[in-house]
């Protein structure tokens, strides 16, 4: 065995192993398993969308077809079609791609910014902490949706702008959590040990502190993912989401809700789709928390 296998491998190589193991632990939480199952289902749907979807998402085939029935040319529509004749099932399937692309992307971006801010505020303290915390307080004092509307109304609505808006609005919240964890962890003796051997602040923040904050952060990330999905849905619903015609669950609900009186299927199915995915993340977060509390 060499030094390399002794240190970095045991730190990072085993990390993968341990991550797998903790997913194994998930088996002990039924709630967490259901959540993971729902998420996995949508991930598979998103990946294989071109194979699963019976029709192209934007093809106008036959309007106002009810679920479980056939159109004028004998096409079968499991969930029916909307008022301009697009297959609802196909649009839901393709729409999962949009959600599962932008939600994790936005969450990840928010985490990168939030963690950087939180580490700086919590570990370096002093002026940096004061300034970052004040900025965070101000951003957080906006009602979230007001902030999104203001940002999107100003910079326009597009996928990337949604990611930017979510990052901007969520990073301070993540910063608060990270800062709190860092304030606790920085007083540990192993951090003092690292300091007494003259480690750089980078090393201490990234090696000694951050990895040990991962537990609560993973749970928070799951919850936040659920919330980001809601946000993307709400923006779509308010007409501030991705520009049409590409399918987006929130947008689908907005487009069809005036038809809801006569054709509830147009709105109800996308509602179920988005709710099930959010439920998946919330259940997973709950399961993970339950497991982490038990150890």
């Amino acid at each position: 065995m060499t030094d390399r296998s002794l240190i970095p491998a045991s730190t990072y190589g085993n990390a993968l192993l341990r991550a797998l193991k903790s997913f194994g632990l998930l088996r002990e939480s039924i709630v967490g398993m259901i959540g993971a199952g729902l998420i996995l289902f949508w991930i598979i749907v998103a990946i294989f969308a071109p194979l699963i979807a019976p029709y192209p998402p934007n093809a106008t085939i036959a309007p106002f077809v009810m679920p479980w029935s056939t159109g004028p040319d004998g096409e079968f529509f499991l969930l029916g079609t909307d008022m301009i004749g697009r297959d609802i099932l196909s649009r839901i399937i393709w729409g999962s791609r949009t959600v599962l692309l932008y939600a994790p992307l936005a969450t990840l971006a928010a985490y990168v910014v939030g963690i950087a801010m939180g580490l700086a505020a919590g570990y370096l303290r002093g002026r940096a902490d004061d300034i970052l915390s004040r900025i965070g307080d101000i951003i957080l004092s906006f009602p979230v949706l007001v902030l999104y509307i203001l940002i999107i109304a100003t910079i326009g609505s597009s996928g990337i702008n949604i990611v930017i808006a979510i990052t901007f609005a969520s990073a301070p919240g993540i910063m608060r959590i990270v800062r709190g964890l860092v304030l606790d962890l920085r007083n540990r003796d192993y951090v003092a040990a690292a300091q007494t051997r003259g480690e750089s602040s980078w090393h201490i923040m990234l090696v000694e502190i951050l990895p040990n904050a991962r537990g609560p952060l993973i749970v928070d990330a799951c919850l936040r993912l659920g919330y980001v999905i809601i946000t993307i849905g709400v923006l779509g619903f308010l007409g501030l989401g991705l520009p049409p015609p590409d399918p987006d669950w929130g947008g689908m609900i907005n487009e069809t809700r005036s038809m809801a009186l006569a054709f509830p299927h147009m709105t109800v199915f996308p509602c179920i789709a988005i709710s099930s995915l959010i439920l998946g993340f919330n259940l997973l977060a709950d399961g993970l928390r339950e497991i982490s509390l038990r150890d």
């Binding site: 709630v31 307080d137 009602p143 007001v146 809601i230 709400v234 809700r257 919330n282």
Partner: protein, 310 residues
């Protein structure tokens, strides 16, 4: 304590000032854009310059900001481009409508979620606890727009129990209030319930609750006197912060039910680039949010003797 309150209020004012500067920067930094937004895209260069001249837009930036701030403080928010009336004339009635909606929501949601949370947290792991937890996690997972659709489908279209829109155009109607409030309650109560439950469950495992039990106190007294007070400190903050969340929620709900409230107004203003209306709405929204946060902070310290007497 007084100093603490003073500090919090000072911070609140500071936040408002910073927000106002940000808003002003965001919306009025380039006068040309303002003129285009106010006079419409088909106005001529000359018209815009005349308008800018008349409204003092050729002054330096900071002069304009202070003039704007002064007007703002005295209640003059400018005229709405879309409604062609002073902003204040539409803002206050709309805010009143939203306040009614908010109060109705809170009046049901807070007692409901506190009771459920305490019941669940009191005996962690019991059947009641599990069912309450599952229900609250499911309801929080359904976004407001989705639950609005689903509830409307059931109550309005199937059962014909309630009106599907809540414009309140023919005066106040309690029936029209039910659906919007219901949607908000369903989305929000789960969160408060879970927070209360977590806090209660934690308190029930503390050593001082054990002490109270081993002192031989009746269970009722252990819960009511020893656990509850400590357990409600954390949810209090959560509840106050819900007002901030509610402001987001009302936008969706008012939009969906065509309720003539503040949230719908803000959305409409943003979509139409009605800048004076946006400014006023955003400032009001932030004010409400910051004010409730201040109350939450002050209340938290008041509830917690460890902070109050240190």
């Amino acid at each position: 304590m007084l100093i603490f309150v003073g500090k919090r209020i000072g911070f609140m004012i500071l936040t408002m000032v910073v927000v106002s500067i940000l808003l002003f920067l965001l919306l009025e930094i380039t006068p040309g854009n303002v003129a285009t937004k106010v006079l419409g895209p088909y106005s001529s260069e000359e018209q815009r310059n005349l308008w800018l001249e008349a409204h003092g837009y050729f002054e330096p930036f900071y002069v304009r900001y202070f003039a704007w701030l002064g007007n703002f403080a005295s209640g003059d928010f400018g005229d709405s481009v879309r409604f062609k009336v002073p902003v204040a004339d539409i803002l206050w009635p709309r805010l009143g409508n939203t306040a009614i909606l908010g109060i109705a929501t809170f009046a049901v949601m807070i007692p409901l979620s506190l009771i459920l949370g305490v019941l669940a947290g009191m005996r962690e792991g019991s059947k009641l606890d599990r069912s309450i937890s599952i229900v609250s996690i499911v309801t929080t997972s359904v976004p407001e727009f989705a639950s609005a659709v689903l509830i409307t489908a059931v109550l309005v279209f199937w059962l014909h129990l309630l009106p599907g829109t809540s414009t309140m155009s023919d005066g106040f109607d309690i029936l029209q209030l039910i659906l919007p409030a219901l949607v908000l309650i369903i989305y929000d109560f789960g969160y408060v319930t879970r927070m209360t439950r977590a806090s209660m469950a934690e308190v029930m495992t503390t050593q001082y609750v054990r002490t109270a039990i081993l002192k031989g106190l009746p269970y009722r007294r252990v819960v009511m006197r020893h656990a509850l007070r400590n357990a409600l400190i954390a949810p209090f903050t959560v509840i106050m912060l819900q007002i901030n969340w509610l402001l987001s929620g009302v936008i969706v709900v008012e939009f969906f039910f065509a309720y003539k409230g503040f949230g719908a107004l803000l959305l409409e203003a943003s979509l139409n680039q009605d800048i004076y209306l946006i400014e006023a709405c955003a400032m009001v929204a932030v004010f409400v949010a910051v004010a409730t946060q201040t109350i939450a902070d002050v209340g938290y310290t008041y509830l917690n003797p460890r902070i109050r007497f240190s």
